[in-house]
């Protein structure tokens, strides 16, 4: 989990730096404070990535255990939060192979080739014109969550990091150790996939 960034990158000082320096200087008793700061965010990330609460809990626990193991390798070359998500994303990909809840087959994104997704419409649909707050309900949230879980992990990670966790393209690329261009391509494909699922939902409901 050591960072692999260009040499001579200036050290980043953020709200976690002093706490991490203290833990790495021998104050392991402060580790629960790090857990307190990120437990909620990581659990939500886990629920967004995993199809069930048990896998999300495993992801959070395994991520914090990995942080405990590798925190001494943290070089302050990125925000701690971004490094934490890199550990979490890596843990997530390894864990999924072991999960008894993981579906044997995920949907292919081949149908998301632009030619297939760019079906002509002769008007802007109603669900786009309505106020956002009028659309939101539990059924829609579940439809969206189910659609996200149907994405292959590589695409799901990108859309969760970019559109749900709020990371920039550059940050997501560093977390996933892929290029910015790759993040953009995967994000566009993932959004098209989700859009098709939402269209299906709204075509039947509105």
């Amino acid at each position: 989990m050591a960072e692999s960034h260009p040499p001579n990158r200036p050290a980043i000082h953020d709200s976690d730096t002093e706490l991490i320096q203290a833990i790495n200087s021998g104050r392991e008793d402060l580790f629960p404070e790090l857990v307190r700061r990120y437990e909620q965010r990581l659990y939500t990330f886990g629920r967004r990535m995993c199809g069930n609460p048990a896998d999300a809990e495993d992801l959070v626990q395994e991520t914090f255990l990995n942080v405990l193991r590798y925190l001494k390798d943290f070089r302050y070359e990125t925000k701690f939060k971004n490094w934490l998500y890199r550990v979490a994303a890596s843990t997530c990909l390894k864990q999924r192979r072991k999960s008894k809840f993981a579906p044997e087959r995920q949907e292919s994104l081949e149908t998301l080739e632009p030619e297939a997704a760019a079906v002509a419409a002769d008007s802007v649909p109603k669900w786009v014109q309505m106020p956002l707050e009028k659309l939101l309900n539990e059924e829609l949230a579940q439809t969206l969550q189910h659609a996200i879980h149907s994405l292959p992990e590589a695409y799901r990670l990108v859309v969760v990091l970019r559109d749900m966790e709020g990371f920039s393209t550059e940050e997501a690329a560093r977390i996933l150790t892929i290029s910015d261009a790759n993040v953009k391509v995967r994000l566009h494909r993932a959004r098209l996939f989700l859009r098709e699922k939402l269209k299906g939902y709204f075509d039947h409901g509105l």
Binding site: Q40, E57, F64, V119, A121, D163, L192
Partner: protein, 86 residues
């Protein structure tokens, strides 16, 4: 006017850039090109608006509260981490 991105190469080319447009990651000239195009192409306008609404819906997701029982188990596990390789 309606056009079909599956048969119009220019629509298809712009369609590929719609996410970057939504994310404000395009150069000004590319932004202007898309804006000029969707002003006269209902199909591409619908593509843009449905994609933009999809992103907006993703961003409305709320936190999942951490179960208290799990929180307790997590702290116990971290207080006595397993030994040996990961």
């Amino acid at each position: 006017m309606a056009c079909d991105a599956s048969s119009h190469p220019h629509c298809l080319e712009l369609f590929e850039k719609l996410s970057e447009y939504i994310d404000d990651e395009l150069a000004p000239a590319e932004r202007r090109e898309i804006e000029a195009h969707v002003a006269g192409c209902v199909a591409c306008l619908a593509c843009l608006q449905t994609l933009r609404r999809t992103v907006a819906l993703c961003r409305t997701g709320a936190d999942h509260p951490v179960p208290e029982e799990f929180s307790r188990r997590l702290r116990s596990a971290l207080a006595a981490p397993p030994r040996g390789p990961a």
